[in-house]
């Protein structure tokens, strides 16, 4: 398994070197502009989207609704634990993106939160003044290396993605996620498959609960809910790839400049 990971990392690094030859910040912005990403599988995506909506109505929405009434410290603790597990994917991606300092900081964060923070339940690192945590994944790493997103894709259960991001997430299953390795991939005495899948489902519920009102509101007030979700997802991905939440850095102002009403 470790050999596989090394092999994949090497391939990614080599493809990055060749991709970087012609890529810079502006090219990454352009490649990941929501308007530049084609919806090649739109009919199929819309069917999958409807399926996901139905599943949400039957499962995620009611469970998230119940989850929301839990006491705040419990919800914060669960959310912290899930973030802590995600650092196991973030750290290798910090390295792949050349952010060695961040990799160091996140390693420190993981060690402190897992031990002093009781399996990540308490974000001790934040209280110690560590910088705000930013999740990274293999899709973002490929993007920073100049790999384009490909077509927009809606995955069953998992939701919106792109061909690049969906493909890259497979790296988690072949050695790129230490949490997967110790739960599902390898038969350790401490964890079982259940631990991994439970953490993934809880992560989905936590996300749904955090965005409960926003999602309900968006659905109620959209004239094309599918298009709204697609736009928001692709904008969010673009921000994450650039590690910024400043719209001014990503939004093309030329369209606004044409509109004269005063």
């Amino acid at each position: 398994m470790f050999r596989k990971l090394i092999l994949i990392t090497t391939i990614i690094l080599f493809s990055a070197l060749s991709a970087n030859a012609g890529s810079d910040g502006e090219l990454i912005i352009k490649k990941n502009q929501p308007t530049e990403i084609k919806d090649c599988f739109e009919p199929l995506n819309r069917v999958t989207f409807s399926f996901n909506q139905a599943l949400d109505g039957i499962l995620f929405q009611p469970v998230a609704s119940a989850y929301r009434v839990l006491p705040s410290p419990v919800k914060t603790g669960v959310s912290n634990s899930l973030d802590n597990l995600s650092t196991l994917v973030t750290i290798p991606n910090n390295i792949l993106q050349g952010e060695l300092r961040k990799a160091g900081v996140n390693s420190g964060r993981f060690i402190i939160n897992t031990t002093v923070g009781i399996l990540g339940f308490i974000d001790v690192a934040q209280h110690l003044g560590f910088p705000e945590y930013e999740k990274e994944d293999y899709g973002q790493s490929l993007a920073t290396m100049g790999v384009g997103p490909g077509c927009y894709l809606v995955l069953p259960v998992l939701g919106p993605s792109t061909v690049r991001d969906a493909t890259a997430s497979a790296i988690n299953l072949i050695g790129g996620d230490a949490w997967y390795n110790v739960t599902v991939a390898n038969d350790t005495q401490h964890f079982t498959d259940f631990d991994y899948y439970a953490s993934r489902v809880t992560s989905g519920i936590d996300f749904r609960a955090k965005n409960y009102d926003a999602i309900e509101n968006l659905e109620k007030n959209s004239i094309d809910f599918y298009a709204s979700v697609k736009s928001l997802y692709l904008q969010d991905r673009q921000q994450k790839i650039l590690n910024t939440n400043k719209i001014i850095e990503t939004q093309d102002d030329s369209d606004w400049e044409e509109i004269e009403t005063q």
């Binding site: 007030n221 004239i223 904008q235 939440n245 509109i259 005063q262």
Partner: protein, 196 residues
């Protein structure tokens, strides 16, 4: 001499007058937010809240500008009558959508903390929606159209880096694309939304 004095006073008065009416974008946002917040915390029905919020939106949002932005390149193909019809339909769609979204919140606390001038016409005002036990803290940036500094107008809300105007534009584009660019299909959708 007297006439000169009169002119001087007139010039000073005009300058003072015009300056006193120029509104800083961050002050404008904070005051708009406070007005909306007052309405949302009032003990009145949801319908009444929606009606009052619509009045604020009409005064403070550049609805016509947002409408034409949302239409994207399709706006170039509209004739004069279609533009008038679109502006009317968009306004009722926007007011309904905007006020219903806002009416869901009870007593939201928003703090304006900084601003960045992008150009003569645009300033981004940064604010924070204070978190509650059910909702995390949310960053909200406001794109303010400042071409007329005496009458700044909101053109976009950017929530955690996600632009609502851009989302709306892509929604409209999706409807146009799935109807071979037929503007009447968009008119019909907007009408249906406003009447539901």
């Amino acid at each position: 001499m007297r006439f000169k004095k009169f002119l001087l006073v007139l010039v000073c008065y005009t300058l003072t007058f015009s300056n006193s009416y120029s509104i800083e974008p961050d002050v404008f946002v904070q005051s708009t937010v406070n007005r909306a917040s007052n309405i949302l915390s009032k003990d009145i029905s949801k319908e009444e809240k929606i009606n009052e919020l619509k009045l604020i939106a009409k005064e403070t949002v550049d609805i016509r500008g947002v409408g034409f932005y949302s239409l994207g390149s399709a706006r170039k193909n509209l004739d004069k009558n279609q533009k008038i019809k679109y502006s009317e339909l968009f306004e009722s769609y926007f007011l309904k959508s905007f006020s219903s979204r806002l009416a869901e919140y009870t007593n939201p606390e928003i703090e304006v903390y900084s601003k960045k001038v992008l150009s003569e016409n645009y300033t981004i005002v940064n604010s924070l929606l204070i978190g509650t036990s059910n909702r995390p803290e949310v960053k909200i940036d406001w794109r303010i159209y400042t071409k007329d500094p005496n009458n700044p107008l909101v053109r976009d809300l950017i929530i955690e880096g996600l632009s609502l105007a851009r989302t709306q534009k892509e929604e409209f584009s999706s409807i146009l694309n799935s109807n071979n660019g037929d503007i009447n299909a968009l008119f019909k959708t907007l009408e249906e939304f406003s009447n539901k």
